[in-house]
Point group: C2
C-alpha cells in the first residue's frame, strides 16, 4: 500500500500560508476518493456519473481511436459505446492506482484495471485488463477532474 503514496513536495509550498502544509496529503486523499468514484461509475456503466468526473477540456487518448478532445466529444463517444453495449453488464471493474504526484492543482497517477463484461444472448464474456495514465486537475469548485486519460492493454497473462 506504500508505493502509491509517492508524494512530490512542491517547491511553492514554502510560499503558502501556515497550515497549508497539509494540502498535499489532503490532495492524495481526495484523489484516492476520486478514484473510487471513477471505479464505481465505470462499473455501473453510468455515463452521467463518468462524465461528471471529466474536465470541460478533458482529452481521452484511446487505442486505434482519434484523440477525443473536450467533454462534449467524450459524451458523444461514451454514448456511442453504451449504445453498442446495449444489454451488456459490467460484472467486475477493479482499478488500482499508483504513484500519485501533486503539484498545486495538477496531479498525475497511473492505474491498472480489470474488467469483466457479460453480454446478452449467451455471448462469451469479455475479460480484459489494461492500464491508464491520468492527469487530473482540481477545478474552481475544489473537485478533481480528468484532464488527460490514456489507456492501453495489459501484458498477456503470465507475460
Amino acid at each position: 500500500m506504500q508505493n502509491w503514496i509517492f508524494l512530490q513536495l512542491i517547491i511553492c509550498m514554502v510560499a503558502l500560508p501556515t497550515g497549508a502544509n497539509s494540502a498535499v496529503p489532503d490532495a492524495v486523499r481526495e484523489i484516492v476518493s476520486f478514484n473510487r468514484s471513477f471505479e464505481n461509475a465505470t462499473r455501473k456503466m453510468d455515463t452521467d456519473a463518468t462524465l461528471a468526473l471529466w474536465a470541460a477540456d478533458g482529452i481521452s487518448l484511446l487505442p486505434s481511436t482519434k484523440p477525443i478532445l473536450g467533454k462534449a466529444a467524450i459524451a458523444t463517444f461514451l454514448s456511442d459505446v453504451m449504445a453498442s453495449l446495449k444489454g451488456a453488464q459490467m460484472v467486475k471493474f477493479e482499478m488500482a492506482c499508483f504513484d500519485i504526484v501533486v503539484s498545486a492543482d495538477w496531479a498525475s497517477e497511473w492505474c491498472t484495471e480489470h474488467q469483466v463484461v457479460q453480454f446478452p444472448d449467451g455471448k462469451p464474456a469479455f475479460d480484459g485488463r489494461g492500464k491508464m495514465l491520468l492527469v487530473l486537475r482540481r477545478g474552481t469548485q475544489g473537485a478533481w477532474r480528468i484532464e488527460r486519460e490514456m489507456w492501453n492493454q495489459a501484458e498477456p497473462p503470465g507475460g
Copy 2:
C-alpha cells in the same frame, strides 16, 4: 501552431518573486526544445541520448507490456529492443505535441508520432503511427525529464 500553447497559469505564481512571471512561457519553450531532443534521439535510435531524457524514477507504460518502472528497467528494455532491431534503421520519426500544461516543476503534453523503420534483408518496412501522453518534471539541474510516458496506436488510416 496555437493549440499547443495552452497555458495553465498556476496559482502559486502569484507568490513568486517579481520577474518570475516569465517562467511559464520559458517552460513551454524549454519543453518544445525537449521534444526536439526526444524526436532526434528516437530517430537516431540513440539509446544513450534517449535515456538521458528520462527521470531516475520514470515510468514507461507500453501496450501489452508490464509497466517499466525506473530508469534502470527502461535502459534494459531499450537495450533489448535495440538488440532485436539490429541492422534496422529509423528513416523517419516525426512527433507533434499539443496542449502543454505547466504547474511549477511538472508538466504534461500529448503527442502524435509517425515512424518508418527499414529492416535489413529486404524485409518490408514498418510504417506506424501512435500517440503519447507524457508527464515531465524539471529536475534540480533545470532540465525537463520524462516521469511518465504512455503510448498507444493511432486510428487506422482514414479512420
